[in-house]
């Protein structure tokens, strides 16, 4: 098996920017005083980041995905995580078969 030196350099560059981002935000809030505005923003990060990652899939891919998202949320209301996730996947498979 071969490793191209430029490929390795690319991976090290990707590592640097990724690890830099992963420690950068942590490092910043640990060292600097976080005011009420920044604090409120940081508290909203989980909701905002999870939403932005899934928004195109859930809202703009098709009716099967949007309806399966609703089903997943309804299942998550009462059932454990794994059951809700598997139920959501099953729903999307069934709806894709029916709707397309």
């Amino acid at each position: 098996m071969r490793v191209d030196p430029v490929a390795l350099l690319t991976f090290l560059g990707m590592l640097a920017v990724t690890y830099g981002a992963r420690i950068g935000g942590y490092w910043f809030v640990q060292r600097f005083t976080v005011g009420p505005r920044l604090k409120a923003g940081l508290e909203a990060v989980p909701l905002a980041v999870l939403t932005t990652i899934i928004a195109p899939t859930v809202l703009a891919t098709g009716p099967a995905e949007s309806l399966a998202a609703v089903a997943t949320l309804l299942l998550a209301w009462r059932l454990p995580v794994l059951a809700a996730v598997l139920g959501g996947i099953l729903t999307v498979v069934l709806l894709r078969a029916v709707l397309t």
């Binding site: 098996m1 071969r2 490793v3 191209d4 490929a7 690319t10 991976f11 090290l12 560059g13 990707m14 590592l15 920017v17 990724t18 690890y19 981002a21 992963r22 420690i23 950068g24 935000g25 942590y26 910043f28 809030v29 640990q30 505005r37 409120a40 923003g41 940081l42 508290e43 909203a44 990060v45 989980p46 909701l47 905002a48 980041v49 999870l50 939403t51 932005t52 990652i53 899934i54 928004a55 195109p56 859930v58 809202l59 703009a60 995905e65 399966a68 998202a69 997943t72 949320l73 998550a76 995580v81 794994l82 809700a84 996730v85 598997l86 959501g88 996947i89 099953l90 999307v92 498979v93």
Partner: protein
């Protein structure tokens, strides 16, 4: 420190580690098709198996690795790939900052090692734990180590066998991450009932996704939702 105390500590480590690994199970399963597909796609683009494993082990960031594999050709466009990675993973700045308040039990070396593994899945699960009670290093590494090893394993297998899953959408695997994130989002929302960051993030994400090619939507939506929540705060009178 007595032997009994040490024993008690290592038991607590084991219990917390195993609890983390157990609660990571849905994600350990849903990552399988993504690892296989990434490995196969990388092989298809001309990365050797060893290069694919190195990328997974060093970078450990699924979406950035997919983009890198998509951009891969010879001569390798190193600057474009590194810049795309920086853009996609800029959300980790916000994510690490948000997790900081839950990492009080981590010694500095543990924290900086833990942050290497801060991908979306581990972050979201750790954060949910932190919302319910103390987040211990043992629990965190119980999430991170099995997930990291399985990511390496499945991308490697994908690179060796290539194209094992031709149409993942037929089995709904492509929906698995959306489902997991929805469930985690719902769990967080029960602790923190705020619709504004969700609504703003979703609207900006969709708008940018429609208008701008690439993955800017992830960054734009996350930043907009965060900024909206920050701007809503009224300064104390």
């Amino acid at each position: 420190m007595s032997t009994i105390e040490l024993r008690g500590q290592s038991d607590r480590w084991r219990v917390d580690f195993l609890l983390g690994a157990w609660q990571m199970l849905p994600l350990l399963i849903s990552v399988i098709p993504f690892g296989l597909i990434l490995g196969a796609a990388s092989a298809d683009k001309g990365l050797s198996s060893l290069e694919t494993i190195l990328m997974s082990g060093l970078v450990f960031a699924g979406s950035a690795q997919f983009v890198a594999a998509g951009l891969w050709h010879h001569p390798i466009p190193i600057l474009v790939i590194v810049a795309s990675t920086a853009l996609i993973n800029s959300r980790h700045l916000l994510m690490g900052a948000a997790l900081e308040s839950h990492m009080r039990l981590f010694r500095p070396a543990q924290a900086y090692l833990a942050l290497f593994f801060l991908d979306d899945e581990i972050w979201a699960t750790a954060l949910r734990r932190g919302a319910e009670g103390p987040l211990t290093p043992a629990y965190y590494f119980g999430l991170a180590i099995p997930f990291y090893l399985s990511w390496l394993f499945w991308t490697m297998l994908g690179a060796f066998v290539g194209g094992v899953i031709a149409h993942p959408e037929r089995y709904g695997f492509d929906f698995a991450f959306a489902a997991v994130f929805l469930v985690i989002l719902f769990g967080l929302w029960k602790h923190q009932r705020r619709l504004l960051p969700i609504a703003v993030s979703a609207a900006v994400s969709l708008l940018v996704w429609k208008l701008v090619p690439g993955v800017w939507y992830i960054f734009a939506g996350g930043l907009a939702g965060t900024a909206a929540a920050a701007l809503m705060v009224r300064p104390a009178a």
